[in-house]
């Protein structure tokens, strides 16, 4: 039964891909929305009906299993819920009016398939199933990022994103193999039973895979490459699917992973570093989508930290809050980019042209800033409190990261929707786009309920967890930092100040402290090595063969001349020798008696002397 959660959307995606090209835009959009809604309905059914584990046997060693869990329940609901408005928006924003065409059908089918693969990923109960789903969402992301394949740059960026995340996928291969080596199976239960160095290897592999997907340091730069995809794709990747997969894995397996002593410190360190570095990158970025992308890394860094300090449920709540606001922000950025003709924040300030969009986006921006009373402010507060359980400075650093979020959120909002005296909008957003944007903002507003104690106790009960104790002083410090961040953001975006990085240093920070360039350089180096090896293979390895052939050829020629002459000469000389001997012998037959007699005498003397020598010796 659980298989239907992934199977139905994937099957629907295949149908949509094959049959969608001839349908018109509205029909394709409706079909995609229906498929995602079906996924959502199935997830709710599974939860309400308490659907049990399901397995599918490949062979004795390879058995794929799905099983429900608390984290999976939250994700299976959140993923289609977020994907639904994104799919509607995609239909109206990307597809031309009239027939959807092949590429339109492909886009919608891939979005639906992505949701299905993600559902499989979160339900997986063993590392093999996880790996399968993990790679499937990677492939979907490649196809989605490369959606506009006609531009050469786009497919190159898709390649970069795919390879970087697949680099992390290798960690999952290692982890799965380590679990198999230790237990003969691949299930999470086998992983939990593991100990010794194999557990270390497995945990290291899982953390590597999660870091690459979650765009944590040092893999963060692929998110910028992923920006080559259309806006709804970015929204989907950042809010509900690809990036979320890494976090999900940590949340799901945290009790097991924590069995390794270095797990918590490592995850805290990665999360904290990414949270701060991502925030600085976002503050320096002048590209709307890249600013949001850097903020995604930063926010996921905070979630990592929550997992590291032992509160995966807190990370889960922040994930949901972040999903709503980030999806809304990306969709809004798409409208702004269409209006201004590009993704550069410098050319926007569309407050007068898109007043409604600006106002709706303000909700999401405030959520990103962590402003009370929105839900994300509460979850961020919980992360700080959880960090405070470990050390005071950790809590304060989380609060600082929150302040930086407020800064870049303000920067985004004011640069995109600040007011200037430009003309009113020429092409107002379609109803579908507006509806998608509004429903995401409504979700963000609804999450404010988390500030209400009974509600959050209900959530805690549902997730079978407890919240860390919060402190009023920490809340006040956070709030002060958020306000300071908003103020700084306001000041940084005052009219007349340049938006692009002002100095070379800022430009480097804006590109992930040079990580993007490093990634590029690694790719170039590998390509150069490959070309050199290819030349070596022709000139070096194959040269051995050619040399052998030449030696053989030379030998053949040598034989043809000298060998043949020798072989020919030997019998020739022998026959000549025999000839000569014959001639000589013939001369002895002279017919003259005295010749014969003297020969006989010589012979007798010779025999006698031989006999004498024999006697004497």
């Amino acid at each position: 039964m659980l298989w239907s959660l992934g199977g139905v959307p994937i099957g629907a995606a295949v149908l949509l891909y094959l049959g969608g090209a001839r349908l018109d835009r509205n029909a394709v959009t409706a079909a995609a929305a229906l498929a995602v809604t079906a996924a959502l309905g199935l997830a709710a059914l599974a939860l309400a009906g308490g659907w049990g584990a399901a397995s599918y046997r490949w062979s004795d060693a390879l058995v794929l299993t799905l099983a429900p869990s608390h984290a999976a329940a939250a994700f299976t609901l959140a993923v289609p819920l977020i994907a639904l408005p994104i799919a509607v928006y995609a239909g109206f924003h990307e597809l031309p009016p009239g027939a959807a065409g092949r590429s339109g059908a492909r886009l919608m089918a891939l979005i639906v398939a992505f949701v299905g693969a993600m559902q499989l990923l979160v339900l997986a109960d063993d590392l093999l199933t996880l790996l399968i789903a993990w790679e499937l969402i990677g492939a979907c992301s490649w196809a989605l990022i490369g959606y506009r394949w006609g531009e050469a740059e786009v497919t190159r960026e898709a390649l970069t994103a795919f390879l970087t995340t697949r680099c992390g996928d290798l960690g999952l291969y290692v982890a799965a193999a380590a679990v198999f080596a230790g237990s003969g199976g691949f299930s999470y239960a086998d992983l939990a039973a593991l100990d010794g160095p194999l557990l270390d290897v497995a945990v290291a592999g899982i953390v590597l895979a999660a870091a690459a997907k979650s765009a944590q340091l040092p893999f963060s730069a692929w998110l910028f490459a992923a920006m080559a995809g259309p806006v709804p794709v970015s929204a989907l990747l950042h809010a509900a699917t690809l990036v979320a997969a890494g976090l999900y894995l940590l949340v799901r397996l945290q009790p097991i992973l924590d069995g390794v002593a270095w797990f918590a410190p490592l995850v805290i360190a990665i999360g904290l570093a990414t949270a701060l570095a991502g925030a600085l990158t976002a503050i320096c970025q002048g590209h709307a989508k890249k600013l949001l992308a850097a903020s995604t890394s930063s926010q996921y860094g905070l979630m990592w930290l929550a997992v590291g300090v032992g509160f995966p449920a807190v990370a889960l709540v922040h994930f949901v809050a972040h999903a709503f606001m980030k999806a809304g922000l990306f969709l809004s950025a798409g409208l702004a980019a269409r209006e201004s003709g590009g993704h550069e924040l410098a050319g926007m300030r569309l407050g007068r042209r898109l007043p409604g969009v600006g106002a709706t986006t303000l909700v999401s921006s405030l959520a990103l800033a962590g402003m009370i009373p929105l839900g994300s402010a509460w979850s961020k507060e919980q992360i700080a409190s959880a960090a405070g359980q470990q050390a005071l400075w950790l809590a304060l650093t989380v609060a600082l990261a929150g302040g930086l979020s407020a800064l870049y959120a303000t920067r985004f909002q004011r640069l995109a929707y600040g007011r200037t005296d430009r003309l009113p909008a020429s092409t107002p957003p379609s109803r579908g786009e507006i509806a998608a944007l509004r429903s995401l903002a409504a979700g963000t507003l609804l999450l404010s309920v988390l500030w209400w104690p009974p509600a959050r106790q209900a959530v805690a009960g549902w997730l079978a967890t407890r919240w860390p104790p919060s402190h009023t002083w920490l809340l006040l410090v956070s709030l002060a930092l958020v306000l300071a961040g908003i103020g700084a953001g306001w000041w940084l975006t005052r009219p007349g100040r340049r938006v692009e990085p002002a100095s070379a240093g800022q430009a480097i920070v804006a590109e992930w402290f040079g990580l993007s360039a490093l990634l590029e350089r690694v790719a170039v180096a590998v390509a150069a090595l490959a070309r050199r090896l290819a030349r070596f293979d022709d000139a070096g390895v194959d040269a051995g063969l050619h040399a052998t052939a030449r030696v053989a050829d030379g030998l053949a020629r040598f034989n043809a001349r000298r060998g043949e002459a020798f072989a020919e000469g030997l019998p020739d000389s022998l026959s000549r020798l025999a000839d000569w001997g014959g001639a000589w012998a013939r001369r002895a037959q002279s017919g003259q008696t005295h010749h014969y007699y003297s020969t006989i005498v010589i012979g007798v003397v010779l025999i006698l002397s031989l006999l004498v020598i024999g006697v004497l010796l």
Binding site: R57, W58, S59, D60, A61, L62, R102, L128, L131, I132, A133, E135, L136, A139, W142, G146, W149, G150, E151, A152, V154, T155, R156, A158, L159, F162, L163, R166, C167, L170, Y173, V174, A176, A177, A178, F180, A181, G184, F186, V526, A527, L529, A530, R531, R532, L533, A534, R535, D537, V541, D542, G544, L545, A549
Partner: protein, 494 residues
């Protein structure tokens, strides 16, 4: 009996095509497809009649031939041989259907193709060591003429290089086979006797030399780095369907030979050298992938990925042969290696057929001259994307199931070989996505404005191969059951 039909029908078809001069091109092709199809059907019947829990070798036929030498007409299959033979027959049928320029000599082209099918199946189906060698060598003859007569570029040179290089390997194999034969008392070429008696189990110089000759001979055919340089040139100059046969079937003879001869008959000696064989396989995996990435020629690129993929196969075999490690892990690796043979045949077969289609349309393999075909030829793009993703090991498609098993099994036995081998997975991803990008995405050059999409015969064939790729990727148990019956006998039965 059923195996004899599979073996004889293509050979008879070849004889008929060669002997009867009045058939037209269409008729010749029909006869070839028919004969290949009958052979395939016979193997499918054999598959359905195969009992995975039964004896190791089934459908056995034995007729005396030269009793004084211990040579007999012996046929029989285990799960691995049956799966590889069936895949080969499918690929031959596909190659016969696939349109190709026969240069006005359709009868002889299809006759040689059927001849190749007969002798190739012979390699997989025979249980007699001498027959194995005879078929192994005859396959070179068929391929020599197919490349030399219907190739392009410098076909004569490539065919000659292919023949001489692989023939050198065959000679080593012959020496080793004679060595094995002589070690048995009374002398016999019966594989089952050799497997049962393990005549060279004592070790020593003699066993080592026989093993070395066997492995060298088979490594040339596989091919393992650095014995692989005959491969790219032969591929580039061969017509598409012949390339598909070369990569899909002929390379399997090397890997299959390693399972059937050294692994089965010299388990103890193989165990001693297994880490070295594994290290060579790792070299093939990483080096093959990197060199493939460095190629600007479509066919050379695909050809080098074969070196990489066969490396996984050999790694799996080396792991299975190892004296260390858990039998379950070694069996997993061997199952993976045998599955790798089947799926590589389908995937690379599809890729080479596709490159044949490109050649038929443009006469060019340079990736740099292509671009933007996705709009022009959506079917071609779709099938290529599927085959490329299968080849780079995407789950849901066949390649993943094989490579994952090899890797998981190898890690449990030789983690120091398995982890670096993962680099191959990353590099193949890079090289295939780069290939797709250069062929299908970006701008369409003006010279390709009239490029036509796949014809029906083409997409039907690719559709069937793709169906096989997806089926094995999603529902591999039907073939895994078959392969596991053989691999458990090979690994557990010592």
């Amino acid at each position: 009996m059923i195996l004899s039909i599979a073996l004889a029908v293509p050979l008879l078809g070849a004889l008929a095509l060669a002997g009867y001069p009045r058939w037209s091109a269409v008729q010749a092709r029909r006869i070839a497809v028919g004969a290949a199809g009958v052979s395939l059907a016979a193997l499918i019947v054999a598959w359905l009649g195969f009992d995975p829990r039964g004896a190791q070798f089934q459908h056995v036929v034995e007729l005396p031939w030269v009793p004084s030498l211990g040579v007999a007409y012996r046929l029989g299959v285990d799960g691995i041989a049956l799966a590889v033979a069936t895949m080969s027959a499918l690929l031959f049928t596909a190659a016969a259907i696939y349109p190709v320029d026969t240069r006005g000599e359709p009868r002889s082209y299809y006759a040689w193709l059927l001849f190749m099918q007969g002798v190739s199946l012979g390699v997989f189906l025979t249980l007699d060591l001498l027959l194995f060698y005879v078929f192994f060598d005859l396959s070179l003859v068929g391929m020599f003429f197919l490349i030399g007569r219907w190739g392009h570029g410098q076909p004569q040179l490539s065919a000659l290089k292919f023949f001489l290089y692989t023939f050198a390997g065959s000679l080593l194999l012959l020496l080793a086979i004679i060595g094995l034969y002589l070690s048995l008392e009374p002398h016999s070429f019966d594989m089952r006797v050799l497997i049962e008696q393990q005549p060279l189990a004592g070790g020593g110089l003699y066993a080592g030399l026989v093993f070395l000759a066997l492995m060298l001979g088979l490594a040339i055919k596989t091919p393992l780095v650095p014995l692989h340089t005959w491969l790219p040139q032969a591929h580039v100059d061969a017509p598409g369907p012949v390339s598909a046969i070369l990569a899909g079937v002929l390379l399997k003879m090397g890997v299959y030979g390693m399972i059937r001869l050294p692994l089965s008959m010299m388990a103890e000696t193989f165990a001693r050298y297994a880490p070295w064989v594994g290290a060579l396989a790792l070299l093939a995996i990483v080096y093959g992938a990197l060199v493939a990435l460095g190629q600007g020629n479509l066919k050379r690129r695909i050809a080098y990925t074969s070196v990489n993929h066969m490396g996984y196969g050999v790694l799996g075999i080396a792991v299975a042969a190892s004296a260390l490690g858990d039998p379950a892990a070694r069996q997993l690796a061997l199952t993976g290696a045998s599955l790798q043979m089947v799926v590589h045949g389908l995937i690379t077969g599809a890729l080479f057929l596709i490159s044949g289609s490109l050649w038929q349309r443009t006469g060019d393999y340079e990736l740099a001259h292509y671009g933007g075909l996705a709009h022009q030829a959506p079917l071609l793009t779709g099938f290529t994307v599927l085959a490329a993703f299968a080849s780079l090991g995407m789950p849901g498609l066949a390649g993943f199931v094989a490579e994952f098993q090899v890797f998981a099994g190898a890690f449990a036995v030789y983690p120091w070989l398995a982890v670096p081998a993962l680099a191959g997975i990353l590099i193949t991803a890079a090289l295939f996505l780069d290939m797709l990008r250069r062929l299908f995405f970006g701008h369409l050059p003006a010279s390709l404005a009239t490029f036509s999409d796949l014809a029906r015969a083409e997409w039907l064939v690719l559709g069937v191969l793709s169906l096989g790729i997806v089926t094995i990727g999603v529902y591999p148990s039907f073939v895994l059951t078959l392969l596991e019956s053989a691999s458990s006998a090979l690994v557990g039965g010592r």
